[in-house]
């Protein structure tokens, strides 16, 4: 009989369904095959013209019906696709899920295609005045709904029959991890026995790319796209903007076992800590990230020596990788040099709001398959960052526990600890 409560007496939270979409493909099977063979999904941008752009590559998801329809429709489709895979795998009714929905998704704005089309449907007055006048004459809600921050979750709630008021959240690049954390907490508080946590991001528009570019956050290694994302390398020069989605069905272990579900992994602990240093930069001593890792370990009831593998945030920006190394080496001490730590982003780029969920999905697969996906493009190690990044080739290894890091603009730091087996 498995223990159903954790070290703090709370219900243990199991994962019973996993779904994922990235530039590498739809579903776990394709993604895992590509990821473990070191294949990159980064490719030249074709969705919009790249004239005047310094960065002309991305990890966009270009193969879905909504890929050219704008950020809101694509984000919805990404979320729906991953959630469908997860709910099916869990063996639950995909039209009557019966638990709450937590959605990490990008902030929404009126798409430029719609802005142009509204504006040019008339020629009186100008600017905002014209847009407002045209807007109030619209006879359908499609454009309106793309501007409502709750609309994607509302549609997903309808689609999957989730319970109650769905929560849409943003903690920037930590959002996906926060969506999982909210699900874990709801189950631990006894509010529900299952939850659907999704991170989805289909917002790689020209404007999004330009905004990150203006902050000097993006790689400009355009010539060989699949080589551009090179976490922990000396010549890393920024992240690669990408899209994707990850979904987990979270369930109390008790409920999962009671209905005979296959337990795919355990969400053991979550930790967070906000940084008050700067809007985009981390505190130089790494203390908030360190505190987030330690909080996740404490929440999981695990010591520093009980983590087998780290699924790094590893964005490939000079700043992040340096800070992540600092914080990990502070927490894990000398052992850090021999712990495997790899970055999925070397292959899929940075899926922003989805990243924490996508990478949690890959972390769970890492444990189940006993294979660690590599950090590719590790040809020129940064001598200041001495880590075992599982360079360039996958590694077979028994992995019982994973720490997955997510750090974001606005001082967001969220870490998840997952385990293969219940205690």
């Amino acid at each position: 009989m498995a223990n159903l409560r954790d070290h703090m007496g709370r219900p243990i939270v199991a994962v019973t369904g996993i779904g994922v979409v990235t530039s590498l493909g739809v579903g776990k099977k394709d993604n895992w095959a590509a990821l473990t063979s070191g294949k990159s999904g980064i490719h030249p941008i074709t969705r919009f013209p790249v004239d005047h752009l310094n960065t002309r590559i991305s990890g966009m998801v270009d193969f879905l019906p909504s890929s050219t329809q704008g950020a809101s429709p694509l984000t919805y489709e990404l979320a729906e696709t991953a959630a469908q895979e997860a709910v099916s795998e869990a063996g639950l009714d995909s039209s009557d899920f019966g638990g709450p929905l937590f959605l990490a998704s990008p902030p929404v704005e009126l798409d430029w295609a719609d802005r142009f089309s509204l504006y040019n449907s008339d020629n009186k007055d100008a600017g905002a005045e014209r847009l407002l006048r045209v807007a109030r004459a619209l006879k359908e809600l499609d454009v309106f709904e793309t501007t409502q921050f709750g609309s994607i979750a509302d549609r997903l709630a309808d689609r999957f029959g989730t319970r109650g008021l769905p929560i849409t959240l943003s903690t920037a690049c930590a959002s996906g991890a926060t969506a999982i954390q909210l699900g874990v907490e709801a189950i631990r508080r006894g509010e529900c026995d299952k939850a659907l946590s999704i991170g989805a991001d289909g917002s790689a528009t020209a404007e999004a790319l330009i905004r990150f570019s203006l902050l000097s956050a993006l790689s400009t290694h355009n010539d060989i796209p699949e080589k551009a994302s090179k976490p922990f390398s000396k010549d890393r020069d920024g992240f690669v903007l990408a899209e994707g989605s990850g979904a987990l069905v979270l369930e109390s272990l008790e409920a999962a076992l009671a209905r005979g579900a296959t337990v795919l992994g355990i969400l053991r602990g979550c930790g967070e800590k906000a940084d008050d240093f700067h809007r985009t930069r981390s505190k130089p001593d790494g203390s908030p990230a360190i505190a987030a890792v330690r909080a996740a370990l404490a929440d999981a009831g695990l010591g520093e020596d009980e983590i087998d593998y780290v699924n790094a945030h590893g964005t490939s920006t000079p700043e992040n990788d340096k800070m992540e190394h600092l914080s990990l080496s502070t927490v894990f001490g000398e052992r850090i040099g021999s712990m495997p730590i790899s970055s999925n982003k070397s292959m899929i780029g940075h899926t922003l709001s989805a990243a924490g969920a996508v990478e949690a999905a890959f972390s769970l697969l890492t444990m189940r398959e006993s294979v660690i996906p590599p950090t590719i493009n590790y040809d020129n190690p940064d001598p200041a960052i001495v880590l075992d990044v599982v360079p360039n080739k996958k590694r077979n290894a028994e992995v019982g526990t994973v720490l997955s890091n997510s750090f974001g603009f606005g001082g967001q730091n969220t870490c998840l600890v997952m385990a293969r087996e219940p205690v």
């Binding site: 919009f48 013209p49 004239d51 005047h52 310094n54 902030p107 704005e109 009126l110 142009f116 504006y119 040019n120 020629n123 100008a126 600017g127 905002a128 005045e129 014209r130 847009l131 407002l132 807007a135 109030r136 004459a137 619209l138 454009v143 309106f144 409502q148 921050f149 709750g150 509302d154 709630a157 309808d158 109650g164 008021l165 929560i167 849409t168 959240l169 943003s170 903690t171 926060t178 909210l182 907490e185 509010e191 020209a206 330009i210 905004r211 570019s213 902050l215 967070e272 800590k273 906000a274 940084d275 008050d276 809007r279 985009t280 908030p288 974001g408 603009f409 606005g410 001082g411 967001q412």
Partner: protein, 396 residues
């Protein structure tokens, strides 16, 4: 019976066209026949309730921090500071570092001039995607992105006020405000948090913020009217206002141990998602009222009704069906503040409980008098388009 893990309200920060702070709002809102502060020309044909004059330096000491934000983030950071001050937490490093935060947020302001120039140029160009690249790469201020990101209101609160226990941003109009309060309360009741900063802000004085409503024709046009009297009027019934509300929610034991004044206890918070196209809203509001475990007898009700025709009619019908409810729709006097709507309603409810007095009617043609000292007050936020919630505030 009180218990140590009860959720109590120990700090209130408010800004609206009526002024700033709980005292100013109480004084204004208890004046019978108070006239709203309106701005009817700047955004004609829309009327809005504008921000009052604010000395940002009072809550955001560094000019550098102020410059990094546009008005929405500045406003939210300011109101959060008011709440922290009010709870005696501001400047207390230990309490700030262990404080959790849930912010209900939309997005920040775009650069209207850049957008207008691009739209104007688009009339003469067919290669609009190239035009976009051309203009955006050269004319956008790089750090404006950070002033637009939803989670950067929370980020700025961390930077300016040092609240760093945790930081989460919920999105989704009024529903985000409901979920933020509900989640914060659940964390405290379960012992996960001892004190949480929760709230939101809305800055309506920007064309995109109006456009967010008007793409579905939700804004009221023509002469201003109280919330309950906009049915059948020109437009969709919503009059917006700039403002914000933050609350410090605290475990009762935690508040008592540091000797803080308690405004009120936050009782049950109920939230829902009616499928409105199927006509479920009236029944959903009735269900939420049941979940709130309303006390018997007359109950003062602070309604966040927006004026949006369908949602406001449904809320009115559901509240009218319960003759014990004496309703006050505060948006008549403040305008609709989107994500901040529910925290604002809870704050006004807590003030009435604390001051042991009801607000006079805000609209004499529809609302009725409430005599005596309210010991419980209901707060509602029925979304203008989707999501709904309510909560019961009780004497401490």
């Amino acid at each position: 019976m009180s218990s140590p893990h009860d959720v109590v309200i120990t700090g209130i920060g408010l800004v609206s066209s009526l002024g700033e702070g709980p005292d100013a709002h109480w004084q204004k809102l208890t004046q019978p026949g108070l006239e709203p502060v309106l701005e009817a020309t700047r955004f004609a044909p829309y009327t809005i309730h504008p921000l009052p004059e604010i000395d940002w330096n009072l809550q955001i000491a560094k000019r550098g921090d102020q410059r990094q934000m546009e008005t929405w983030q500045r406003l939210g950071t300011y109101v959060a500071g008011l709440a922290l001050d009010d709870a005696g937490i501001k400047g207390n490093d230990e309490l700030c570092a262990t404080m959790d935060m849930v912010v209900a947020a939309g997005g920040g302001e775009r650069d209207e001039a850049v957008d207008a120039a691009i739209l104007a140029a688009s009339e003469a160009r067919n290669d609009r995607d190239v035009l976009l690249n051309e203009k955006l790469t050269t004319e956008l201020r790089p750090t404006l992105f950070l002033a637009q990101l939803s989670n950067l209101l929370a980020g700025n609160i961390s930077i300016v006020h040092k609240v760093t226990g945790s930081s989460r941003t919920f999105m989704g109009e009024e529903g985000a405000g409901v979920s933020a309060v509900e989640t914060a309360a659940a964390r405290i009741r379960s012992g996960q948090s001892t004190h949480v900063l929760v709230g939101g802000a809305f800055q309506t004085e920007h064309s995109d913020m109006l456009l967010g409503y008007e793409l579905a024709g939700y804004l009221h046009r023509g002469p201003w009217k109280p919330v309950w009297q906009r049915q059948g009027g020109e437009g969709g019934g919503v009059v917006t206002g700039s403002g914000g509300a933050f609350l410090v929610l605290e475990q009762r034991e935690h508040a008592q141990s540091r000797g803080r004044k308690i405004y009120a206890e936050l009782g049950p918070v109920a939230s829902g998602r009616a499928r409105r196209r199927r006509g479920e809203l009236n029944a959903e509001i009735a269900t939420l009222l049941k979940q709130a475990a309303l006390p018997s007898g007359e109950l003062l009700t602070i309604s966040g009704a927006s004026g949006a025709h369908a949602a406001t009619a449904a809320e009115k019908a559901a509240l009218d069906a319960n003759p014990a409810l004496a309703v006050r729709a505060f948006s008549t006097l403040t305008g609709h503040m989107k994500e901040a709507q529910f925290p604002f309603a809870v704050a006004l409810a807590a003030l009435a409980v604390d001051r042991k007095a009801a607000y006079p009617v805000f609209d004499a043609t529809v609302e009725r008098a409430f005599a005596g000292a309210p010991t419980s007050v209901l707060a509602t936020a029925i979304g203008y388009h989707q999501f709904e919630g309510l909560g019961l505030v009780k004497a401490a």
